[in-house]
Structures are given as structure tokens and as C-alpha cells.
């Protein structure tokens, strides 16, 4: 129990040091922000690493996420799913969500398998045999190789490895 609480307070101290523009009176409990932000993951992927053609939130800046959500909130006649979702959160909740995702590296360091469901698969045996999974992994690796931010992300991942 002790180490856990200790690391929470360490986190809180870190937040105070590095987020001066949105400094809360009391530092956030980061695990609460994590719980709140995880509610985005049904659509935006675990820890904000989305599958397919939907925004990944991990590694976006705090300002980016806040501005996007505020813009959606101010749509006169909300006609998009996210316009309505954005109206579900307070300014403070949006700040917490933004800070949580901004604190994550833009690319996941881990190799979490993803499910890519598509109608064209209907005639196959499904997406769970090993060959299919390998094909999907290869495709993803290819995507990463072509990502112009690859170098930057690699650096972050390396730093994380050192940290661990």
C-alpha cells in the first residue's frame, strides 16, 4: 500500500511542477484522470491508440485536445457524434482528459493486437487465425515505417525503456 501512495504523491508533485498554465488548487489524482480518460477508449483505443480511421489521442497536446472539444461544444446545431459527446464534459474534466492523453507517447511502445473488422472479411474464416493476425501486424509495421514522426516517437520510446 505504501509504495502506491508514495508514487501517487510523486505524480502530484510532478503535475504541480510542469503544468503551470492550468495549475489546479490541489494537484490531480492522476489515476482519477486515467479513469475519466479511459471512457474515450471505447472509440479512440486503449490509452488513446485508435484503430483505423479515427483520431488517436495519445501524445496530442493539452491545448489541441481542449480546443477541439471546446470547438465541438460550441457547434450551434450539433450534428456529429463528437459534438454531443463533447457537451457531456465540464471544462475541468476536459482539462483532465487532455492532460492524461498529452502525457502519453504518440505511438504505443507495445505491440497490442488490434481488431480490424471489415465486411470484405465475411467470406474468410474470421480474423483470429494466426496468419491473419500476422498479416495485420505486418500492415501496421508498414504504417509505422511510413509515419514521418517515427524518429521522434522512437526517441520517446527509448527514453521510456531507460526509465523502466
Amino acid at each position: 500500500m505504501q509504495p502506491n501512495q508514495k508514487s501517487f504523491s510523486k505524480l502530484s508533485a510532478a503535475m504541480l511542477l510542469t503544468v503551470p498554465l492550468s495549475l489546479p488548487v490541489f494537484a490531480d489524482d492522476v489515476t482519477i484522470n486515467r479513469m475519466l480518460a479511459s471512457q474515450c477508449s471505447q472509440c479512440h483505443g486503449t490509452n488513446g491508440y485508435a484503430v483505423g480511421d479515427i483520431d488517436s489521442l495519445a501524445g496530442e497536446s493539452v491545448r489541441e485536445i481542449q480546443e477541439e472539444l471546446r470547438e465541438m461544444q460550441s457547434e450551434g446545431s450539433p450534428d456529429d457524434m463528437m459534438d454531443h459527446q463533447a457537451l457531456g464534459y465540464t471544462d475541468d474534466q476536459i482539462r483532465r482528459i487532455a492532460e492524461y492523453f498529452a502525457g502519453l507517447p504518440e505511438n504505443s511502445a507495445t505491440d497490442t493486437p488490434e481488431i480490424h473488422l471489415s465486411a470484405s472479411d465475411a467470406s474468410s474464416d474470421g480474423n483470429h487465425d494466426e496468419d491473419d493476425e500476422r498479416d495485420e501486424d505486418d500492415e501496421r509495421d508498414e504504417d509505422r515505417d511510413h509515419d514521418k514522426d517515427w524518429g521522434e516517437d522512437r526517441d520517446e520510446d527509448d527514453e521510456k525503456d531507460e526509465e523502466d
Binding site: 471512457q39 457524434m81 473488422l117 483470429h128
Partner: protein, 430 residues
């Protein structure tokens, strides 16, 4: 890299690290037993493994090898998807995240002894028990699901209805379906199904020469409720416009009995015969929960909406997430996933001796719902909402203005539906 970034990374425990840590179950690890490997149970086990810091020994019990998703399963009926594409193996998830699985049915819960008894006579002790069982159906006189599929718990039932539609629905034929009394799982689901049954019936008729030869097919929707329960404008427009002359919607038609051999039903609004019959009986929490006293004599299990721990006096360390609980939030896969994360945080916190009811946490307990409903083979509608904890009411409440639905249906939403499902499945099952 800033200090906060490093520390946040430490909190954002990687999947790979967790599968290693999760294997190191010490004798003193907090034992968590999860009953059910659907959207609620799988998400819970997955997220407690991610967030639990290796302090938990998690065992997920399910009678099946994998979970077949109800989400998207109406597209198995249309032959667009196969059930195997929607079936997710429990053991692969458990191996990746470092928890245990047991393939068994739970016969009973020994709430005093803090253990669950399995159907093979063995038992599993728990420090925390998470019940993610989903629903069971109320008994209907004459109803035999092996003859008349409900296809409302996905799996062989889905394939059975698909097979009946493919081989036993004649051109110009009649499908009858029943809509259960609310609350039931997936509020727009029955109406989405009605649309797709109509599309299938039209396709069969058109492929065989059209309505001029065979007459117009019929889909009779017998709703136990007084009106359409979700996306009413959308589905009213679909029933009257897109499927005008095909879908016949009957409100206040409560199911009385079923003749399963002859595929006919008796309801409070009359009797109906069909070529293919799809009966979805009313729902309730499974007998496992009712027998353990967890429903307090009602249909669903009352829980604290910020932890999902039972509110039944005298019972402790038992949590109910997903469709079987009574918080009044919509019963859906997306919501089950949402609730599982709130519950995982609560279990993590309680084990660590941290408050689950601090002002800061109560102000940030939210869940949300988002879903897409295909209305034909190429177009879909959507529905979304956010829920938050209201301290005064001690309940989850819909956030004003967050409730939204599409204006009709379109092709873009159909494409987005696949992306949504891919992400929801990925955040739950792999």
C-alpha cells in the same frame, strides 16, 4: 522529456510490462474472480490487469471458450459478417494480460464463505467478486429457443436465425419478431433488427422475381412497449418510409405464449403466424444473482454507481457490472465496457486503501454510450450520450445536451460503424 511525462508514463503501464508482472501472483495477491467474459467481464479483467500494479490475482470464469459479440451480430443475419469474425477467445486475452481463465459454469455463490461454486463441484475463493453475467430471459409459455431463436445472446442462436432466414423464408414471406419490455439490452437493437429483417425479406423476394410474382414480404414487429424505445424519429421514418408496406409496427403487444413448432405467437395485441419467428423474451438478471440475494427481489441488481459494489445489506465485496445491474443506464456493450473501467478503478482503489468516494473522484465518474445501427445493407444511423454521477440523487444521470442521434441514416455512418466496432472490440477483447 519533462518530469511529469516520465511519471505519467510510469502510470500508463504498458501492456507488455503488465503481462509479465501479472504472472507474478504471490500468495498474498488480492484474489479477484470475474464471472463472465463478455464486454463487461473482459474489459474489467483487462483494465484491472493494466491498472492493478501486479497486486491482483484475477480469474475470469466463462462456460465458453470465447465471447460472441452481440454488437454487429445483426450483420451475420444479412450474411455480411461471419460469427467467427465476432468471436473473441478468452485465453488469448488472459495470456496477453496475465490473468487466469476457467472454463466452467458457476453453480452458486457462497457469499458468507467468499467463494464461488462451479458446476464441476470445485470452488474458487475470492477477495472481490465481479459479476458480469449479462442477462437471462423470463419464461414464456411454449417458448423453445432451440426452435425459435432469440439471437439476443450471440452465438449459435445468431447462426440459427441466419440459417432460417436463408433457407426457410420464402419470397413474399412473413417474419414476426417480438420486442421485449424495457429495460432490455441494446435499446435501438430490436428496431435495427426489424429494419434488417425487412431488407433480407425484400432481397429474397427481389432475387426470386419481385413482388409482382410473390407479393410483398411482411415483417411484423410486436413491441411490448408503448412506443419505439430509441431513435424513435429515425426508426419511425425507416418503418414508414424505407420499409413502408413491409414493416408493420404494433405497440403494446406483450408476449403471452409461443407455439414454437408452428412459429406463431399470442400477444396482448393479437395472434400472429410467420414463416420465420424471432422471439426476444423479456430480460432479467440471471438466477445466479437472484439466488444469491443480489437483486433484492427485483429484476436487476442494485449497486453503488461509482463502484458497482452491491447495495444489498449484508453482502460485501461483490460487484455487478454490465446488463445485470440496476443503475438505469442503457444496457449495452459500450456501456458495459465503460462501467467495467469505473469498477476496475474502484477495486484497485479499495485494495490500496484509497477512497472510492472522494469529492474529486465523484466529480469524475462518467460513462458514455455510442452506437451505430444499420438500417439497410449500406447505411446506418447513430445514437450517443454521456452519463455522470449526480451526488444529490446518488445516481448516474444523463448529461443534458449530450444525448444525440443522427438525422436519418447514411453511408458514412455505415463505414464509421466498422471503425467504432473495431475500436470497441480492441479495447475489450484483445
Amino acid at each position: 522529456m519533462s518530469i511529469s511525462r516520465r511519471n505519467l508514463l510510469r502510470v500508463a503501464t504498458s501492456v507488455a510490462a503488465m503481462s509479465a508482472v501479472g504472472k507474478l501472483h504471490s500468495q498474498t495477491a488480492h484474489k479477484v474472480v470475474v464471472v463472465g467474459g463478455g464486454f463487461a467481464g473482459s474489459t474489467f479483467a483487462r483494465y484491472l490487469s493494466l491498472w492493478g500494479g501486479g497486486k491482483f490475482s484475477i480469474t475470469m470464469i466463462d462456460p465458453r471458450e470465447g465471447h460472441s459479440s452481440c454488437v454487429m451480430s445483426n450483420l451475420v443475419l444479412t450474411n455480411e459478417l461471419s460469427l467467427s469474425q465476432l468471436t473473441f477467445d478468452h485465453q488469448s486475452l488472459a495470456d496477453r494480460f496475465g490473468f487466469n481463465t476457467v472454463m466452467a459454469s458457476v453453480a452458486g455463490i457462497d457469499t458468507d464463505g467468499h467463494q464461488v461454486n462451479l458446476d464441476d463441484g470445485s470452488s474458487l475463493p475470492y477477495d472481490s467478486l465481479v459479476l458480469a453475467t449479462g442477462i437471462e430471459f423470463e419464461d414464456i409459455p411454449g417458448y423453445d429457443a432451440s426452435l425459435v431463436p432469440h439471437a439476443w445472446i450471440a452465438g449459435t442462436q445468431t447462426e440459427q436465425l441466419q440459417s432460417q432466414l436463408n433457407s426457410e423464408l420464402p419470397p413474399g414471406g412473413t417474419v414476426v419478431m417480438t420486442v421485449p419490455k424495457a429495460p432490455y439490452r441494446c435499446p435501438p437493437g430490436p428496431y435495427e433488427r426489424a429494419c434488417l429483417l425487412a431488407a433480407i425479406a425484400q432481397r429474397i423476394t427481389n432475387d426470386a422475381g419481385g413482388t409482382g410474382v410473390h407479393g410483398t414480404p411482411r415483417v411484423v414487429v410486436l413491441d411490448a412497449n408503448s412506443h419505439i424505445q430509441a431513435e424513435e424519429a429515425t426508426f419511425t421514418a425507416a418503418f414508414n418510409g424505407l420499409y413502408g408496406g413491409v414493416i408493420e409496427y404494433v405497440a403494446d403487444a406483450e408476449l403471452v405464449s409461443v407455439d414454437s413448432e408452428n412459429r406463431s405467437v399470442v400477444t396482448t395485441a393479437g395472434s400472429y403466424s410467420s414463416d420465420v419467428l424471432n422471439v426476444i423474451p423479456n430480460h432479467r438478471a440471471p438466477a445466479l444473482l437472484r439466488n444469491a440475494g443480489l437483486t433484492a427481489g427485483s429484476a436487476w441488481a442494485p449497486v453503488d454507481p461509482v463502484t458497482y459494489e452491491t447495495r444489498v445489506a449484508g453482502l460485501s465485496d461483490i460487484y455487478v457490472i454490465g446488463d445485470a445491474q440496476a443503475t438505469g443506464q442503457p444496457k449495452s456493450a459500450h456501456m458495459a465496457n465503460a462501467q467495467a473501467k469505473v469498477c476496475a478503478d474502484a477495486v484497485m482503489r479499495k485494495q490500496a486503501g484509497l477512497s472510492t468516494h472522494s469529492a474529486e473522484r465523484l466529480a469524475n465518474v462518467t460513462t458514455n454510450s455510442a452506437c451505430f445501427s444499420p438500417v439497410n445493407f449500406t447505411e446506418a444511423a447513430w445514437l450517443t450520450a454521456v452519463f455522470r454521477y449526480n451526488l444529490a440523487a446518488d445516481a448516474m444521470e444523463l448529461v443534458p445536451n449530450s444525448l444525440g442521434a443522427s438525422d436519418g441514416w447514411d453511408r458514412e455512418s455505415y463505414r464509421e460503424m466498422y471503425t467504432w466496432a473495431s475500436n470497441l472490440f480492441s479495447d475489450t477483447f484483445v
